[in-house]
Symmetry: C2
Subunit: 235 residues, 2 copies
Amino acid sequence: MARGEVGVVATPFTFFVHGLGVIAAVLVLVWCIYFRGGLAFSSSNKSLIFNIHPVLMLIGFVFVASEAILAYRILPGTKEVRKIIHLSLHFIALVLGIVGIYAAFKYHNESGIVNLYSLHSWIGLGTICLFGIQWLIGLVTFFYPGGSQTVKATILPWHVIFGLFVYILALATAELGFLEKLTFLENSGLDKYGSEALLVNFTALVVVFLGAFVILSAVLPTQREPQGYAPIAED
Amino acid sequence: MARGEVGVVATPFTFFVHGLGVIAAVLVLVWCIYFRGGLAFSSSNKSLIFNIHPVLMLIGFVFVASEAILAYRILPGTKEVRKIIHLSLHFIALVLGIVGIYAAFKYHNESGIVNLYSLHSWIGLGTICLFGIQWLIGLVTFFYPGGSQTVKATILPWHVIFGLFVYILALATAELGFLEKLTFLENSGLDKYGSEALLVNFTALVVVFLGAFVILSAVLPTQREPQGYAPIAED
């Protein structure tokens, strides 16, 4: 994508990412706690179990994963330290994502709703499986036991492309989730132009911008490189 | 995105794009004609007006736009010819997209359904506006009157990045649309695991793969370049 040609560096975009991530996290908490009654893993009010799902998926699987992608671009410290942070943040994202998906199944099962019929669930489950595969391949190739320099150099561009693909799928799944839940609520009588509907749609828009800035941050160079194109170090 | 490093060229992926595009087009026609009763711009059966919308958006705005993106990567002929094809196909996509959106508004208005409340409509309308802006900037920068070589070289990488961003938004909007329409139908009694529901979800999956292969085709080099990295020609 013509990394070296763009006369703009990634750093300014990374500030937008942190800011938009915090805004999205606050908005999803306002939605689930203020409008939807709060969060609970066990409750006779099954909606509170559902509410765990958007909170963990957005804050855990999207926001933490976004920060993991940025870790290589913005953190100081040695490459080894940044690699461990990248790997650890993605692991946290994966675990929170799995717990979040578990909450959705638990809500369905305790409420007598069938599982896995919607596009959101299909793409979402595919996404987290691909994410897990990507994480494992990254672990064994770049961390432990680690491939040879040749193997690392061959895998790295595919790791970046496939990683961004899975990240875009995660964003798309989030958008599908916002739309699906809001459609259910509107079919149950929620005002289509009420404050809750607008809040959810604005949260979804913030997530689109968050994703765009993360991807820009990932594909733009970290600093001006007057001596020409420099790929991501492949260690 | 480390174009030069990936030891794989774009050409094989472009065949998947044509194939998946045809499959998606057939599936959406089967859905709208066989399952949903056909297409009409004027009808007392307002659903037939709606059916114009997914057909034109998918075949016009997604598939034709996909082929437009590929035009630079696969077509023979001079750069000037490929540029005109790229520009013309995107123009066709834009026009079909506008007619497709008009059909959705016409359906809403004649059926007494409010407009522009859903995330699908918000992101969709934003997408086609950004698409139009991108097309106009492309026209005046690269075609007529055309910028200087320096301006072209500066704009080109942003044209590619922003173009892929808008394309991803179009794909996401399509996914939101499939989910939204199917959710409405399921709320009105359609079997969640019936053949129509599965058909729509599979069509949506085909669109995800189509998009992934288009983006791969756009970011991978067109041929092995043993003498190192070569950006897209910026004429």
